[in-house]
Assembly symmetry: C2
Homo-oligomer: 430 residues x 2
């Protein structure tokens, strides 16, 4: 096989054989194929696309590049949950413990904050003492004992994804549905769960710009999951406004604790219950997540998980030294809150990271005081900025105020879950 | 300007501004933009294409990357000639001296053999003592005195093309009409002539596979030439069969000398006269190339050029020690001779080069004894192989015999020049 011929086939719009994909990825990992050749191929894939068999072959080759987690010692159907990333998306922190409280085994490997989106690992690490670096043995033991563990992926799993993503990031080849789908699903499949609930977000605060592209990605990921023998369900959800009332690491852990007690933003609670129900259904567990919420079982499971991972909630979550309101400059109803602008503000405050090496400020973030649908008068707080310094607050005040779109008429809440995709196809509507 | 945004614009099918193209090429030349980013952009260009203004901007940026030859001290309209490369294509060696004998000033920078196609510089260097490395001063002086000089391009001219071509060669991004057109025309425009005759070849022995792609390339190159203020005419010509009767460096110089005396293959003479007429017309010279051929003026000009460049024809052209016929294994009429197979045979014999560093054997090559239309009997020679050794002859015998397609019916010669393109558009037919 000749690398130029293989690249030329994708350039000309042909379909690769699984052997060709294995040849390219293997050659790249062995450093026989240089970055510039892989970059040319990635661009050809971005423009020409890939068929379902090609994407499955790429996903398999990625999985085979590293170790796979063996969860066979955990009895029953293990369920994983993944979000494609949003602003204020703390659903994992609520739905996963709630599902575990219902009897679902939840072995979850998670990611870190990137760009304007938050990461579950960074949020968890705001709990004093908590670690997300669990060796496989400890990880499995915790799932057996607590029902849930949330840990960082080992660098020995899917090393091809790390390499390929780093190259895509610097060659304008990130926005490709088959490349995104194979990146996510290779990691989910290697993580060993039997079933996967995906939350595919679109809109201002997400990586997918619109419903159509999110739907396409959801279908592709379900096909890949089912193709690898994993029961897979995807929800397509809106991410135009931030989810819930807080954006920032410790702030979101606190909001998750409240939600597990049934308190807080109604939309957030609804989405979390929906995801939990999907997880229970995939696991074949008959339970009422709402009951587990009311009884406090979900919150207890979450707290047991934090303790098992070394966390000390009793020491208190970190609190920002400066907390300053951003106020409305007119009367009106909140029509929309630009999730991207809120996410970028939180990033600027130190809650996120621009580069992988960056450290996050666990206490920094934004609390939404006037959510979509709220009525405000000039001078009322729209949000509270939590920051290390007044100087940082000043840097984001204007951007945050402009993120709020006010209108004179009353506003209803837009739907959040817009479609559900499983192996049988797509069902639109909540 | 952000390099990822600029690459992303081409990925998404948008048109670049001239500033964006200057930004990309300039950044690449300054090594601020790495190979992998340029490779991704080149692939996007291959698939998405470029508009005429984009291609002109790229051509201009390429020219500005290096020195430009100033020919203003040579009076009158200087005419250059360029072929996109073929097998047995010695038209430059005949038409350019003939045009010079008619009074056209021909300052020509030329290229070397690559893959299965020959190069004018390698052919000329088979003349003992001859040099193609002429400094600008000597080059201009020779055009003033002899009317013609054929030299190698200085590495200080269009250095961007060398870099970009090397990257295209290893990233499967060679076959792109705007990239090919800008590569050729940047060099032609930097070479300083006022007018350019292009021979755009298509078919088995050429780089363009079919008439449509050659026509597209011809149009694009004429647009670029005229856009840079150079009168430009392109002929679209067939390269399915080798041109003339010989393929190889010294062999082609000998065939050119014969053609300048009006002897040899009728098709070759016709094409050479056609190109000469186009050159005379662009220069505004009223002369009859046929007369210059009959009088021997063309041959004299060629010989004066060889002498001016240090050549000693009187020492004789190099002759291969082994000359072996390849014979027909059946009776028939020659319907076609696969130019690619003949070119690859000559390459294997040492007449061409696979890599730029390779040295060529000036005496090696193939002489066609049975051209298209000829009738042969089993055992008659189809070709004579000129080689360094019998072992080399054996390596190509089967390939050469298979290059001849014999048929039972009589065969007519196919047309050679299929279209002419100038700023007013395309005229099909000879």
């Amino acid at each position: 096989m000749n690398v130029l011929e293989v690249i030329g086939r994708k350039r000309d719009g042909h379909e690769h054989s699984p052997e060709e994909i294995q040849f390219l990825l293997g050659g790249y990992l062995r450093k026989e194929i240089p970055d510039y050749q892989m970059a040319a191929w990635l661009m050809a894939v971005c423009i020409r696309g890939m068929t379902a068999p090609e994407t499955l072959a790429l996903t398999r080759a990625m999985i085979e590049s590293g170790e796979v987690l063996d969860l066979s010692t955990i009895p029953g159907i293990k369920v994983d949950k993944h979000s494609t990333g949003g602003v204020g998306d703390k659903v994992t922190l609520v739905a996963a413990p709630l599902a575990a409280a219902c009897g679902v085994k939840v072995p979850k490997l998670s990611g870190r904050a990137l760009a304007h989106t938050g990461g579950t690992l960074d949020k968890l690490e705001s709990v004093p003492g908590l670690t997300v670096d669990l060796e496989p043995e400890r990880f499995i033991k915790q799932v057996l004992e607590v029902g849930i563990a949330v840990a960082a992926q080992s660098p020995r799993m899917v090393p091809a994804d790390k390499l390929l993503y780093a190259l895509r990031d610097v060659t304008a080849t990130v926005p490709s549905v088959p490349l995104i789908a194979s990146s996510v699903m290779s990691k989910k499949i290697a993580a060993g769960a039997d079933a996967i609930v995906l939350d595919v977000k679109f809109g201002r605060g997400a990586f997918m710009p619109d419903f159509a592209s999110a739907e396409e990605l959801a279908k592709e990921m379900v096909t890949l999951g089912e193709g690898a023998g994993r029961r897979t369900v995807a929800l397509v959800t809106a991410m135009d406004n931030p989810l819930g009332r807080s954006v920032g690491n410790a702030l979101e852990v606190q909001e998750a604790l409240d939600a597990l007690s049934g308190e807080g933003d109604a939309e957030l609670l609804e989405v979390c219950l929906r995801v939990t129900r999907e997880m229970c259904e995939l696991a074949g567990v008959r339970a009422d997540p709402q009951k587990a919420m009311r009884s406090g079982a979900g919150r207890q499971t979450f707290e047991r998980m934090l303790v098992a991972q070394g966390g000390h909630l009793e020491r208190g979550l970190p609190v920002a030294p400066v907390q300053v309101p951003v106020t409305a400059d007119r009367d009106g109803h909140v029509e929309a809150i630009d999730a991207l602008e809120v996410g970028l503000s939180a990033l600027e405050l130190g809650a996120g990271r621009l580069r992988k090496e960056d450290r996050v400020d666990p206490a920094a973030g934004v609390v939404i005081e006037a959510p979509v649908g709220a009525r405000v008068r000039s001078g009322d707080p729209l949000a509270t900025v939590h920051a290390r310094s007044n100087e940082l607050v000043e840097r984001v005040t204007k951007r945050l105020r402009n993120a709020w779109r006010l209108t004179d008429r009353e506003v209803g809440k837009p739907p959040h879950v817009l479609a559900r995709v499983d192996k049988n196809g797509i069902a639109k509507g909540d």
